[in-house]
């Protein structure tokens, strides 16, 4: 692990400022076209190729490497509301030897997965000059290396306000002189989970308890959080039915797209609940758990898309700041009688998690694994690990 400061300068600049090989001012013109007809003019950075998908936003002020590698953003054009992006460059891929002997990959520790999952990045002001001891390359370089386009010079605040009113919207990025998509493309009709989930069972870490993790598009820190607490984790493809697997607990990850397309996972959860396996779901995991127990979800007027979302643990005065990215919430009136709300959003009062009244089944709509975002609810992993030890 070597510390890398600013990338070496490739073009002489007034004042000798270090520059990336990429120069925004000579970069191609680009535009973001929305399904409602709105057009935002900007310039391209990153990969030179247009793309279509669903346009979403996130209000976090830090963490673009984490967000971009979060599989939940698969198929989406991600708009950052914080205007200056790219400030600290991109760290090198570093891995931790977390895997059990003879199996599995080492865990990425600087990113949430092995690659960028978002389809594009939309920013107001791309920081051409980054600066950080741990940076290996610039954000533009990284996007280019991974074939992901970026667009900058966009009025991201106006875009965000437009998106918020629609929930989200389809859109495409067109870049002058590049190959561009013609129409719009709704990624949610695809089974995105299938695109980002692991191909086969993979084991990480070791310990005297084993947790099966249904990978719907799992963020690296869910794995690191469990492995770091001394349990063995078997990461499963989304459709895995747990056949032949001896487990002490079930974890259901976050993931992209429409939960109704991954009913197989909901069925697996149901079978685990029937066997009283301690279960913990996160984000999509929460929605899948809800489906598994027959509860309904509804679309929020305004989705929760940031790292500053307040939740309260129901029936207590305990509040936490959480990272969230969802547009649907569980309708608590449809919960079976043995289930109750666990967390609630302090802003709009919508549900943020459910639990069984006495059995060790729980799930949350927010991201206790953070990355990016606040680490207030990391203790939920402690509780889960305690549950599987009981």
């Amino acid at each position: 692990m070597t510390a890398v400061t600013t990338t070496s300068s490739t073009s002489a600049r007034p004042g000798g400022a270090p520059a990336d090989s990429h120069d925004t001012r000579t970069a191609a013109r680009a535009r973001l076209v929305l399904a409602d007809g709105a057009v935002f003019e900007g310039r391209s950075f990153g990969a030179h190729g247009g793309v279509a998908g669903e346009v979403v936003f996130c209000t976090g002020m830090v963490g673009y490497p984490e967000s971009l590698t979060d599989p939940s953003y698969a198929g989406q054009l991600l708009c950052c509301t914080y205007p200056m992006i790219g400030n600290y460059g991109v760290p090198p891929m570093e891995r931790e030897g977390g895997s059990a002997v003879g199996s599995g990959d080492d865990l990425p520790i600087t990113f949430e997965s092995d690659r960028i999952h978002a389809s594009a990045l939309i920013v107001n002001d791309y920081s051409e000059h980054h600066s950080h001891w741990h940076a290996q390359r610039s954000l533009a370089q990284w996007l280019a290396d991974e074939g992901v386009p970026g667009i900058q010079g966009i009025d991201t605040r106006s875009l965000t306000m437009r998106l918020r009113e629609h929930g989200s919207m389809l859109g495409r990025i067109e870049i002058d002189g590049a190959e561009n998509p013609r129409g719009f493309e709704d990624p949610n009709v695809r089974n995105l989970v299938a695109e980002v989930s692991v191909a086969e069972r993979t084991t990480y870490g070791s310990g005297d308890r084993r947790v099966a993790l249904i990978d719907c598009g799992c963020k690296g820190n869910i794995l690191r959080s469990l492995v770091g607490r001394g349990v063995e984790v078997v990461r499963l493809p989304w459709g895995d039915d747990l056949q032949g697997l001896q487990i002490d607990g079930l974890m259901v990850s976050n993931g992209p797209g429409d939960p109704s397309l991954v009913d197989a996972a909901a069925a697996t959860i149901k079978s685990a609940l029937d066997r009283d396996v301690p279960t913990f779901g996160v984000c999509m995991g929460n929605q899948l758990l809800a489906r598994a127990i027959g509860a309904k979800t509804f679309k929020l007027k305004y989705g929760h898309r940031g790292q500053n979302q307040p939740v309260v643990e129901c029936g207590t005065n305990r509040c936490f700041v959480t990272s969230q990215n969802h547009g649907y919430a569980v309708d608590t009136t449809t919960l079976p009688s043995d289930w109750r709300p666990w967390f609630e959003n302090l802003n709009d009062g919508t549900n943020e998690g459910v639990r069984h009244s006495w059995k060790p089944f729980r799930s949350v709509q927010f991201h206790p694994e953070a990355c990016p975002g606040p680490t207030d609810t990391a203790y939920l992993f402690d509780e889960f690990v305690r549950m599987i030890h009981q």
Partner: protein, 1064 residues
């Protein structure tokens, strides 16, 4: 259920001083609003009479009394509060509260400290206890040791190895702290520090690490959030109050941001803070390693900044939490619907830059470091750093036009000035970049993060492109430079276009700023907020324009010497009156320490530059019925004519009349016409002319430039030689303006008149007198209202002159005039057609709001004529200046025609002596006086002082004196122990007497206030300041003080509230 207290006592922060400025008026005002909302009775002690928190409409009872344990205890006895707020009045309130708790006073009277408890405060203020607390939870702090003696300090410093950092306990603003490189420096610094504070921390130097702060809020349920983080542009070693600060942090990764956030929450929970606090970190720029520097368990300058940066009202929330609320039970006051338990998401950045006035002081070191010297600050908001930074530099009003194009800040030694920065560091950095230094080289020399430097280099690049394109600069380039914060003025400078041409070109291509809301949620939820800024980095307005029936009100900008909280009071009161009158108030200001930038005070708040360009843009959008320029001091006043010329209607006195008063020639001609006397003067541009004029009118003469508020660059010359040296300096200060020389009148009284007129008729006026003779800037003088020692005839003449001038200038609104009076002859020094520094003081002593009246008059609305005249008052008000010389290493603490004070207090008493003593005790003088060191200056001065000194002797005060003074006194039959002059280095020496604390007071009357060199007198004055011994350098002031203490003892000063005086 909440158990609310009945009466809460709130301690203010007293006079504004370096390190404790307007931010505490803002936090105190919010705390009172929060309490009022709960129906809790509030009692406030704060002698700072110009504050908004001491307004009639806020606290139920206000005491203009010193914040000392003695006075506070008396107020407690009288008002019987059951709760006490310590967190809203800075270090002053906190330290006083700790003393009251330690001495058992709080327990005795059953007063409960609300919010963070005293033992918790002690754990944060005592640097040793603090480090132990951190150790308990494995949080890292710098290697250090707390010491109470100089020898221990030296011992440990050797163990650590020099350089070491010395930090003082129970202090703020880095008072007395510093990095020392050897034992001599250490002994000097620690010796001095231990005179102010009981303890000094010696620790490893982390100079050059990133300095990061978090604002943390915690409730009694242990819910904890960080509302905002901030990154210092200037790395560790430069106090955060002296640093350019950016929020949110720009160079921290998610891992770093949240690691520090997590440690903040863990630390604050462990300490047990309830309410608001601030935690400061050092972060290694080469790894994730960190140290906690300190926790301030109270509202702070940073919390005011964070409130303004995010829209999250920290002080208001902290007050509610102190009452027992949980964060989740409170609402976000911007959205009104979402929860107060959340962390604002910003979709812009803010840049704060301190404002210094170091050039005003003789002998001060201009190097900045771990101790604060700045007197105010500005904050700029924009989506990108470049735009925010350029705005902020202009907001400072130091003549800078932005990052590039600013003249007068050249360094002649880049290496040195980058490594050992002065207050002009940022210009030095830009100069280096412009002269070919690479970002890397500047980074190495300064340790400023490359990200910031590269952004500055980007501005330099844009300037070059503008210059290359000159008049033919493309529209695309114009868009780019406007987005990077270039003003039209800068664009004009670099392209050769005129400003008007730039404005017109912009208009032609539709290159206009958009209005953005600060909504705390980055647009995630809809919010009806009125907190706004302008930017070119956007495509549509967030708010609806025009605004019906709106009045644009211009604020005062940065606090600086000569312009401070008094103008904020005027603006807020004008705004409140406008609202009462049914107007929509649109406030424009950019000073984060103010109440006028509190968005709940106005219909709309624009947090932006107060410049012609920005005012015009806002006026275009809002289309107000007019703009009020007379409430925010000189900054808006100077815009009057230009606004008028560009078609924006100026309300109140006609801009031409304003120019008629500001322009010395026009004003002088007017006075001649009216047959009103003025000191003889002439405008001269060569040295020969100047000497000839001085010879003609006779020395001493006063030399000054025009159009200044605080007497910048003015001086008195008593002979040819001084005139010559001074003209050398003055020429540098202002090249465009010719020098004005006037006859300096000695031995005269100075008188002020504050008044409100309508169509040239005076409706109400207030005349006050100075204790000091003319020659001490009115901002530094001790003001007495109503006058006690001025002849009735003089008062009558002053009134007559004011009546004539008001009529001639057809004044409508507030105005202020200054007079010199000598044996009933009255001369006019100046006239300002705007509210002045003394408006809040006279308004509050009279208990008649002159600003409300002025606002009604300006808007041509009905008003009621005041029912009480000043001479009917049964009490006296005295306003005294607060100096901050102890923060300004090396500065000579004398008074002159240049203003030097950083704040003021105003106290009320049944007679002059009582009000005077209260006000002096409020600015740091202490009683009783048992020993005095006298050094009385020229022989006339000695003679004049003799009766007063005799009074001291009669009271049994032990007298020490420098040799000449001792001889004089002993000859006159007053016994005084002679001490040796400092430079004679013999004992018994004056300096030792001061250092060892053997004297309670130093009276040093300087012989000549112009000499800059190190003289004996200077060393005595400086030692008094450095070793925290009260000092008088003005004869009249010293005389009045001695008379007052002879007439009244400290416990004979009535503890009466403002309301009680008003009833009498």
């Amino acid at each position: 259920m909440l158990h609310l207290p009945q009466t809460v006592l709130i301690l203010g922060s007293s006079a504004l001083k370096i390190g404790e400025a307007g931010e505490f008026d803002y936090s105190g005002s919010q705390a009172i609003k929060a309490l009022k909302e709960e129906g809790v009775r509030t009692v406030l002690i704060n002698p700072n009479i110009a504050t908004i928190q001491t307004s009639e409409s806020l606290a139920d009872e206000v005491y203009f009394l010193p914040i000392t344990p003695e006075f506070v205890e008396k107020v407690i006895e009288k008002e019987k509060p059951d709760g006490l707020f310590l967190a809203f009045g800075g270090q002053t309130a906190l330290n006083c509260g700790v003393k009251l708790s330690e001495s058992g006073v709080l327990e005795k009277h059953n007063v409960k400290v609300l919010g963070t408890q005293v033992p918790v405060i002690q754990n944060t203020e005592d640097r040793d206890l603090f480090r132990n607390k951190l150790d308990e939870i494995g949080v890292k702090s710098a290697k250090s040791k707390a010491v109470n003696t100089v020898d221990d300090a030296a011992g440990f410093a050797h163990e650590l190895g020099f350089p070491v950092m010395c930090r003082v306990a129970y202090a703020l603003g880095g008072l007395g702290s510093g990095i020392v490189k050897d034992e001599t420096e250490l002994r000097e610094l620690v010796g001095r520090a231990l005179r102010h504070a009981p303890q000094v921390l010696i620790e490893e130097s982390l100079k050059g690490w990133k300095e990061i702060e978090y604002e943390v809020v915690r409730d009694q349920h242990d819910n904890c959030i960080t509302v905002c983080n901030m990154e210092n542009f200037d790395p560790l070693g430069i106090h955060t109050g002296e640093s350019i600060v950016v929020a949110p942090s720009q160079t921290l990764t998610n891992a770093e941001y949240h690691k520090l956030r997590e440690i903040a929450i863990k630390t604050i929970r462990h300490l047990g803070i309830v309410g608001e606090c601030n935690i400061q970190y050092a972060l290694d720029p080469e790894s994730e390693d960190y140290r906690v520097i300190e926790v301030n368990a109270r509202l702070s300058r940073s919390s005011a900044l964070a409130s303004k940066a995010t829209g999250y009202p920290l002080a208001f929330v902290a007050a509610k939490l102190a009452l027992g609320y949980g964060l989740h039970e409170l609402k976000n006051s911007i959205t009104k619907t979402t929860s107060a338990f959340f962390e604002p998401a910003l979709d812009y950045c803010v840049v704060k830059i301190p404002r210094w006035d170091l050039k005003k002081f003789k002998g001060v070191s201009r190097r900045i470091g771990s101790g604060m010297k700045s007197v105010g600050e500005v904050m700029a908001i924009a989506p990108v750093f470049e735009e925010a930074m350029q705005k902020a530099l202009r907001m400072l009003e130091i003549g800078a036009v932005g990052v590039v194009g600013s003249e007068g800040f050249e360094s002649d030694d880049l290496e040195r000035d980058l490594a050992e920065p002065t207050e002009e560091r940022v210009f030095t950095v830009v100069q280096a970049l412009e002269s070919g230094w690479s970002v890397d080289r500047v980074a190495e020399q300064t340790k400023i993060d490359r990200w910031f430097l590269a952004r500055l280099a980007n501005i330099v690049r844009l300037k070059r492109e503008l210059q290359a394109g000159s008049r033919g600069a493309s529209d695309a380039l114009l868009v780019e430079v406007k987005r990077a914060g270039f003003s039209d003025h800068q664009v004009a400078m670099f392209t050769g276009l005129t400003e008007d041409e730039v404005w017109n070109r912009r208009a032609a291509v539709g290159l206009k700023p958009v209005v953005r809301q600060i909504d705390t949620l980055a647009g995630e939820f809809p919010a009806q907020t009125n907190y706004l800024y302008l930017t070119y980095n956007g495509s549509q307005d967030d708010a609806e324009f025009p605004v019906d029936n709106a009045v644009l009100l211009l604020g005062s900008g940065a606090y600086r010497i000569g312009c401070s909280v008094e103008f904020d009071w005027c603006c807020v009161n004008a705004g409140q009156t406008l609202r009462k009158l049914g107007f929509k108030t649109v406030m424009l200001n950019y000073n984060p320490e103010t109440v006028s930038t509190d968005y709940d005070e106005f219909h709309q708040l624009f947090f932006d530059e107060i410049s012609l360009e920005v005012c015009r843009e806002i006026a275009e959008k809002v289309q107000p019925v007019g703009v009020i320029v007379s409430m925010g001091g000189q900054t808006p006043n100077n815009l009057a004519s230009k606004l008028d010329a560009s078609g924006v209607k100026v309300l109140g006195t006609n801009p031409d009349s304003i120019d008629n008063a500001e322009n010395r020639h026009r004003f002088s001609a007017l006075l001649d016409e009216l047959g009103v006397d003025q000191p003889e003067w002439a405008e001269l541009s060569t040295y020969e002319e100047a000497v000839a004029f001085a010879d003609q009118v006779g020395y001493p003469v006063l030399v000054r430039p025009s159009y200044v508020l605080s007497g910048a660059a003015m001086a008195v010359a008593s002979n040819h030689e001084e005139l010559e040296t001074y003209l050398g300096r003055a020429a540098k200060v202002s090249r465009e303006y010719p020098t004005v020389i006037s006859k300096f009148i000695t031995g005269a009284k100075e008188i002020e008149l504050d008044a409100v007129a309508k169509n040239g008729e005076i409706i109400v006026y207030a005349i006050s007198e100075h204790v000091e003779n003319a020659g001490v800037h009115s901002g530094d003088a001790t003001l007495v209202f109503p006058p006690q020692r001025t002849y009735f005839e003089t008062v009558r003449r002053v009134r007559q002159v004011a009546t004539k001038v008001a009529k001639a200038l057809n004044i409508t609104g507030p105005f202020n005039m200054q007079f010199i009076a000598k044996s009933n002859a009255v001369k006019v020094i100046e006239c300002n057609l705007r509210a002045s520094r003394s408006f809040p003081f006279v308004s509050k002593v009279l208990r008649q709001n002159l600003i409300e009246l002025a606002t009604r008059v300006i808007m041509d609305r009905p008003y009621s004529k005041p029912d009480k005249q000043a001479f009917e008052l049964n009490h006296v008000g005295v306003k005294a200046p607060q100096f901050s010389f102890h923060r300004l290493d090396g500065a000579d603490p004398t008074l002159g025609v240049e203003m030097a004070s950083t704040g003021e207090v105003g106290c009320i008493g049944e007679d002059f002596n009582e009000a005077f003593l209260k006000s002096l005790l409020s600015v740091g003088y202490r009683l009783p006086i048992q020993s005095v060191l006298l050094s009385l200056g020229p022989v006339e001065s000695k003679a004049e002082m003799l009766p007063a000194v005799r009074m001291l002797a009669e009271q049994g005060v032990e007298l020490f004196a420098t040799k000449g003074t001792a001889t004089f006194l002993n000859d006159a039959g007053v016994e005084a122990t002679p001490l040796e002059w400092p430079l004679d280095e013999k004992s018994p020496n004056t300096l030792d007497a001061i250092r060892e604390g053997r004297v309670d007071l130093v009276i040093n009357i300087p012989k000549n206030d112009q000499k800059v060199e190190l003289t004996n007198g200077y060393m005595i004055r400086r030692a008094a300041v450095d070793y925290n011994v009260p000092l008088f350098t003005n004869r009249q002031l010293a005389q009045r003080f001695i008379e007052a203490i002879a007439a009244r003892a400290a416990d004979d000063l009535a503890v009466k509230s403002w309301g009680e005086y008003a009833m009498a």
